[in-house]
C-alpha cells in the first residue's frame, strides 16, 4: 500500500513537476524561489497522499497549492497589498531574467508572449496562461481558480481576444 503511494507520487512528480516549476518561475522570477515553491507544493501533495486523503485531480491540486504559495511569497517579499492582489487576482507574471535559465534560454517570442500575458487584465492572466501554456481544459482551470467552468470559458475567449489586440496580431490581420 505504502509502495503504491510512493509510486503514484513519483509518477505525478514526473508528470507535473516542470509545469509547477514553470508556473512558479514565471511569477516569482527567481529560480531558487521557484524551486522552493515547487518542492513545497509536492511536499504538500505527498503529505496529503500519505494521510490517504482523497485527491480528485492531482494537477488541479498542485496548481492550487502553488498559486497559494506564490501569494504567500508575494505577501512576504513584495509591498503589494495582499487583499488587493487577491481581490484583483493580480499575481503578476514576470519575465524571468537570464540568470534564471540554465539549460534553455527563453527566446524572444517566449519573452514577448509572457510579457503580453502579464499586460492582460489580471482577471484573464491565469486562465490564459493555464490554457495556452499548460493546455489545461476549462474544467480543470475552473477547479484551480475556484470559479465556474462557464466563467473560465468566457475569460479564455475574452482573454485571447485581448491578447491578440495587445500583441498587435489583430492589427496585422486587419491590414
Amino acid at each position: 500500500m505504502e509502495n503504491n503511494i510512493t509510486d503514484t507520487f513519483k509518477k505525478t512528480y514526473e508528470e507535473y513537476s516542470d509545469s509547477i516549476f514553470r508556473f512558479s518561475l514565471t511569477r516569482v522570477s527567481d529560480r531558487e524561489q521557484a524551486l522552493d515553491i515547487t518542492q513545497e507544493t509536492f511536499l504538500r501533495l505527498w503529505k496529503t497522499m500519505s494521510e490517504k486523503k482523497p485527491i480528485k485531480n492531482s494537477q488541479a491540486f498542485l496548481f492550487t497549492i502553488a498559486k497559494h504559495l506564490i501569494i504567500d511569497w508575494y505577501r512576504k517579499k513584495k509591498s503589494i497589498s495582499l487583499d488587493q492582489m487577491i481581490e484583483n487576482e493580480n499575481i503578476p507574471f514576470d519575465v524571468p531574467d537570464e540568470s534564471s535559465f540554465k539549460v534553455i534560454e527563453l527566446g524572444i517570442e517566449g519573452k514577448n508572449l509572457l510579457s503580453k500575458i502579464n499586460d492582460l487584465p489580471p482577471i484573464y492572466r491565469d486562465s490564459i496562461y493555464l490554457r495556452l501554456v499548460e493546455d489545461l481544459p476549462p474544467k480543470e482551470i475552473s477547479e484551480i481558480l475556484n470559479v465556474s467552468v462557464n466563467v473560465i470559458s468566457v475569460r479564455i475567449n475574452r482573454g485571447l481576444e485581448e491578447l491578440k489586440k495587445i500583441t498587435g496580431y489583430e492589427n496585422e490581420k486587419n491590414n
Binding site: T38, G107, L113, E172
Partner: protein
Amino acid sequence: MKKIIDMENEKINNGIKEIKNIKMTPSERAAILRNILPLSDTAPKPIPSPFSFYSLLKQHSFQYVLASLLVLIVGGGTIATSQKSLPGNVLYPLKVNFLEPINSSLNFSPETKAKYENSLVKERLLETETLARQGKLDSAKEKQINELLSTHTVAFNKAINELKKTDQKEQITNITTELQNQLSENTKKIVAMKNPNDTELLDPTEDLNNPKNEIAKIDLSKNGTDSYRAIKDGESDTSSATPSITRKEEASIGEKVFSVSMGNPSQNKKNMSLSINKGLRKVFALYKNGQISECFENGKLYYSASLNAYDGEGGTFDSLGTVVGKYQGFTGKYTGISPKNCERIYVIYPNIWGLEGLNKYNLE
C-alpha cells in the same frame, strides 16, 4: 488573410513552445524528489535473512521444534509437573501452549481429535473447579480459561464437522453427550462451591437437561449431529460459540449468579443470552399477549416488550424482570432505559403489527 492567421498562430505557438521549455534541470528535479521522499517511511526496508537466528525464532515451525527440544532437555519431570499445573502457575503456559498443541497435532482422525479437544475442555473445567475450590479463581484466570476453551471449541467443531462428512452420527452423539454431561456436572459443582448458602440458584444440571429452560444448553439438534451450538443465536456458526463458565454479578440486587455460557467472555451478547434468567419468565407473564425482544445495551441484557394493542403500553425490563423503562403508546414517549440493539424472541399471532408468530425459546 490566411497567411496573416498562420503567422499569428506561429508567433503564439513559438512563444508557447519557448515558455514550455522552462524546465528544471535533471539534478534539480532529482534533488527535490530526494528531499521529499526521505520524509516518508516508505524507503525500502532491508529484508532480514531467513536464515538468521531471529528470523528462525519467528517461524512457528521453528518455535515448535525449539519447544520440543526444550521439553526433551528439561525432561519428563517438568512435563509431569506442568501437566498438573493450573492457571497462574509458571508451568501452565508450557502445558497449554506447547504440550497440548503437540498432542493435538498427533491426533489424525476427526474422532480422536474431537475426543482429545473434548478432554481439553474437561481439563479446563476441572481447572476452573479446582481454582474455585481453592478460592483462587479470579477474573484474569477466568479470562485465560475462556480463551483456551474458545480455542478448544473451534478445534472440536472442526473435528465434528469432519466427522459429519463420514456420517458417524453415533460417535458424534456420544462425544457431544459426554461433553454435555461433563459441562453440567462441573457447572453444578462450581455453582455449589461458590454459593454454598444460595438456595435461589437454579440447578444448572436441571437447566441443561431441560430443553425449554433459557439456560445454556447444548443443541444436539434433530439428528444429534450438531454440537456446541448456541441455541440462543439460532445460527450454525459453531466456531464462535464456546462453552465456558463465567460469573456474573448483579450488584444492584446483591445476588450472585453463576451461569454457563457458550461464548467468549468478550462476546457479552452470547454469554448473557444464555445465562440463567428468571426475568424473561416474568416479562412473558405480563406480555404473553404481545411481543418481547431481547436487547443488549452497554453490555447488559434487557427485555423490551409491548402489548398487542393499538396505543398499547410497553416496557423495558432488566434480566431479573425489574422495570427499567416504560413506553406509553398513546403519547409515543419513552421514559427510562430504551435499548436499541434488540432482537425479537416472542410475538403472539395474529397481531397488529402484521408479524409472523414467534416463540424462540418455547415460552409457555
